[in-house]
């Protein structure tokens, strides 16, 4: 035996059969080594089947599978399948129409499938070759199992690798999306539309523009071409909005990706991408930017809405306040007008009544609804004056020439019943929408005119009374004291003449003169007491009336305070009582009388009563009662008489204590 350079034993010393067996053994062994380096079960089968004819004596080798065919194996014939299924290990195949063969089970533990190495025309197989083929079959099964395991592991590794790659991609995408969310969240509350557009541009490197629902550009980055910002026709815009509303993802339209901001279409944000190269992350950034934009636009919308509501509320409150103030003002004005004593009448430029107050109703006898809307002249101006009124009103409207505006004039007015009465009227013009309006303030001066007339009459009576008193005084002086003094003077002149010649007569004449002089003094005293009793001045009202009553033929009960009153008051009270008691004696046929003077607050109240027949009436303008009224009225006092026909009369005077002394001529 010799050795080669590689140390392989020489077979020169073996007999040919042994040499052949050893060669086969080496071949199987070496093939087994090669099989450990093949890469697939198919390759195993191919190597095994193609190498076996070089190793053992056979026609060919092939692989059978019980269920199917493959590139390097065939499906076992039906007739043989049942035999193979019963085979364990190896065994001969003797089937009609098929060369005698030998089958070796190749089991793939992993696949749990049975395949068989078939040595066709194996009549010459020796036991050693059968053994070698069994070993080769089992080795092949083991290699196949290993390869299947490796393939499974590789497949698993590939799946894991693919999953890892996918996961890495997902993680990378999520990381970028998180960065996008983080970046957009940072600027969400402060950047505004332009800030959102610029941030999205930084994140995606695409041009960004934002428009409102109508297509008006709200913001755009500098790299957005101008044609992107042109407004679409309204109908196209509405159709685009509808498409965006129904799209769950960004919509590619007009060379840009679009997303709606806000469910109520507050705006549209767009990513300019003419080449359609935007990644999922870019589109995710666009979508999230739309969310941020919707929040921003919603915030702006809410602020604007709040401002609008606030302004509306403020305006409403102001309007309400103004209306309330106006209503209150009108109410106050109406209340003032309603409370006014004067009638208030408003008319429009047609001279028709638009408003009257309560005093008007009272003074003119109309209800407001009866006169409202009627022509003023027809309602309250006497027929004789109407034409003049109408002409004057027309002249004013035509020329602005006014004779009665803004001053007080006295006119004659007409009540609802047609009666006429004097009024003082002041007319003002009111500027209102729709033309000029006029308001008249009308005062019924019937009482004032009557009082004025009464005052004139009273003054006339006072003058007359004064004249009468002066005449009476003249007469009394002429008829009384003057005559006594004249007689006294005559008797004294006669006595002087007789003083020498007839001393007795002279003495008698002096005596007559003394008598007449006394009577004259008496007369003068009576006259003077009728003018202003001295006792009143010296001792006061109580003593003076007591003196007055003492000279009356009926008893008089007196209730008079001792306190002193102003001289005019004391004089008026004295003469009031003197006249009243004189009337009692003259006309009442009374058996007694009474006088009571009381001081009530700022007034002096005097009552003179009797138990007479009653029914007293002043008989003429020049009666004593009217004279009392004149005297008391001169002090702003009043006189009332109560004299029922059933009997008894009470005269009552009320005189203010705080009077104007200058108003009383005698004060």
């Amino acid at each position: 035996m010799t050795s080669s350079a590689g140390g392989v034993p020489s077979t020169n010393d073996l007999d040919p059969a042994a040499e052949a067996r050893l060669s086969s053994f080496n071949a199987v062994f070496t093939l087994a080594l090669i099989l450990t380096q093949v890469s697939s079960p198919d390759q195993v089968m191919r190597l095994v089947t193609t190498s076996i004819p070089s190793i053992v004596s056979c026609q060919k080798a092939l692989i059978w599978h019980l269920a199917r065919s493959g590139e390097y194996y065939q499906r076992a014939p039906e007739a043989i399948s049942e035999i193979l299924a019963q085979l364990t290990g190896s065994g001969p195949l003797e089937v009609a129409d098929f060369p005698p063969s030998w089958a070796f089970l190749i089991t793939s533990p992993l696949a749990d499938e049975q395949i068989f190495l078939i040595i066709v025309d194996s009549k010459a197989l020796s036991n050693e070759e059968t053994f070698l083929l069994s070993v080769l079959a089992q080795l092949s099964g083991t290699v196949i199992a290993k390869l299947e395991l490796i393939a499974a592991e590789q497949s698993s590794a590939q799946r894991i690798s693919a999953l890892n790659t996918e996961l890495e991609s997902t993680v990378s995408t999520l990381t970028r999306i998180m960065e996008v969310h983080h970046r957009l969240n940072e600027i969400a509350a402060s950047a505004g539309e332009m800030g959102i557009a610029e941030t999205l541009h930084e994140l995606t490197r695409f041009g960004v523009f934002i428009s409102d629902a109508g297509g008006n550009t709200l913001a755009a980055t500098s790299d957005v071409p101008g044609d992107y910002l042109e407004r679409e026709p309204a109908e196209q815009r509405r159709e685009l909005i509808r498409r965006l509303q129904s799209s769950r993802r960004p919509l590619y339209h007009g060379r840009a990706w679009l997303v709606l901001a806000g469910a109520e279409v507050l705006g549209v944000i767009a990513l300019v991408d003419p080449a359609q190269t935007a990644s999922e992350v870019d589109l995710a950034a666009l979508e999230y930017a739309a969310v941020v934009l919707s929040v921003e636009l919603g915030r702006l919308h809410s602020v604007a809405e709040a401002e609008r509501r606030s302004r509306a509320t403020l305006e409403r409150n102001i309007a309400q306040a103004r209306a309330a103030e106006l209503a209150a003002s009108e109410a106050r004005q109406r209340a003032i007008l309603e409370a006014a004593l004067d009638a208030v009448i408003s008319i429009d430029q047609r001279a028709c009544v638009t408003y009257v107050n309560s005093a008007f109703e009272r003074i003119f006898g109309y209800r407001a609804e009866e006169v409202t809307g009627r022509e003023l002249a027809e309602a309250i101006i006497p027929p004789a004056l109407r034409d003049a009124h109408r002409q004057g009103f027309a002249r004013y409207l035509a020329t602005g020439e006014a004779h009665v505006l803004d001053r007080r004039i006295e006119l004659t007015a007409m009540r609802a019943d047609g009666s006429e009465f004097p009024v003082e009227i002041a007319i003002t013009r009111t500027a209102v929408t729709g033309g000029p309006a006029f308001t008249a303030y009308v005062r019924d001066i019937t009482e004032r005119q009557r009082a004025a007339h009464e005052l004139v009459a009273s003054r006339a009576r006072l003058v007359a009374a004064s004249d009468a008193a002066r005449q009476r005084l003249t007469r009394d002086l002429h008829d009384g004291a003057q005559q006594r003094l004249v007689t006294t003077l005559i008797n004294l002149q006669l006595a002087e003449l007789k003083w020498e010649s007839a001393p007795e007569r002279a003495q008698e004449l002096v005596g007559l003169a003394v008598r007449d002089a006394k009577r004259g003094i008496e007369d003068l005293r009576e006259i003077v007491s009728g003018i202003h009793p001295a006792i009143l001045t010296q001792r006061g009202l109580a003593a003076a009336i007591d003196s007055l009553a003492s000279g009356l033929p009926i008893p008089v009960e007196l209730d008079i305070p001792d306190s002193r009153l102003p001289a005019p008051v004391e004089a008026s009270v004295y003469f009031f009582c003197s006249e009243a008691l004189t009337n009692v004696v003259k006309h009442a046929r009374a058996s007694s009388a009474r006088v009571r003077v009381t001081l009530v607050e700022d007034r002096c109240v005097v009552e003179v009563g009797d138990d007479g027949i009653g029914g007293a009436r002043p008989r003429s303008e020049a009666s004593g009662l009217n004279g009392l009224r004149d005297r008391i009225g001169a002090l702003n006092g009043t006189v009332d008489i109560t004299s029922p026909a059933t009997g008894g009369t009470v005269l009552k005077a009320s005189i203010p204590l705080l009077f104007d002394p200058s108003a009383y001529p005698g004060s």
């Binding site: 062994f29 093939l31 090669i34 093949v38 004819p53």
Partner: protein, 193 residues
């Protein structure tokens, strides 16, 4: 299947070796083992010769610093190397191999390392018997020159019958990263007929 040449010639490779290796082109690139094999040869100061399908893909992967001498590395395509005249000739091939080994020694190289991918056999329909006759004759160079011949066979191209020829013509076999003695090798003088 991982086909990686040993980093050091001592790991199984011996001067005078004529080694075969099997790979599967569907799962492995033959360039990897060629690059490793040549790189380790250049490191050892040998002249290296490669015969591969795409020389540039190997050449570019050899570290430049390993090529210390002009001509220390020569990589040709399979067709250029095996069929310089357009067809394969056993005698021409053996002659060329002997010349290259002799030139290397004459140029002062300690050894000559050759590696070849034999896929050209299938692509060109080379007479398999002539080829294996050449393979068997390469073994005769062993006593005369210090060389390494490394033959690569693609299991995706060659079937078991050919593999048996390969095993019969190569004294040593590179399996699982190590060079071992091939038990099925049959010296040329013992081949029947």
């Amino acid at each position: 299947m991982a086909l990686t040449a040993s980093e050091t010639p001592g790991l199984g490779f011996q001067i005078g070796d004529h080694v075969c290796a099997f790979y599967s082109s569907s799962t492995n690139s033959v360039d990897d083992i060629v690059v490793d094999y040549i790189s380790s040869g250049l490191q050892s100061g040998y002249k290296c010769f490669g015969m591969v399908d795409t020389p540039a893909s190997v050449q570019d992967r050899i570290p430049r610093e390993l090529v210390t001498r002009d001509g220390s590395l020569n990589i040709l395509s399979e067709d250029e190397a095996y069929m310089p005249d357009g067809h394969f000739s056993k005698d021409a091939f053996i002659g060329a191999m002997k010349t290259m080994v002799a030139d290397a020694l004459a140029d002062g190289y300690d050894s000559f390392r050759a590696v070849g991918d034999e896929s050209f056999l299938v692509r060109n329909g080379v007479d398999i018997k002539e080829w294996f006759a050449a393979e068997a004759e390469l073994n005769a160079i062993v006593p005369d020159y210090p060389h390494f011949f490394f033959c690569l066979y693609d299991l995706d191209l060659f079937d078991g019958d050919t593999v048996m020829y390969v095993l019969k013509t190569h004294p040593r076999i590179y399996v699982n990263g190590i060079v071992i003695t091939n038990p099925h090798y049959i010296p040329a003088d013992q081949v029947p007929g």
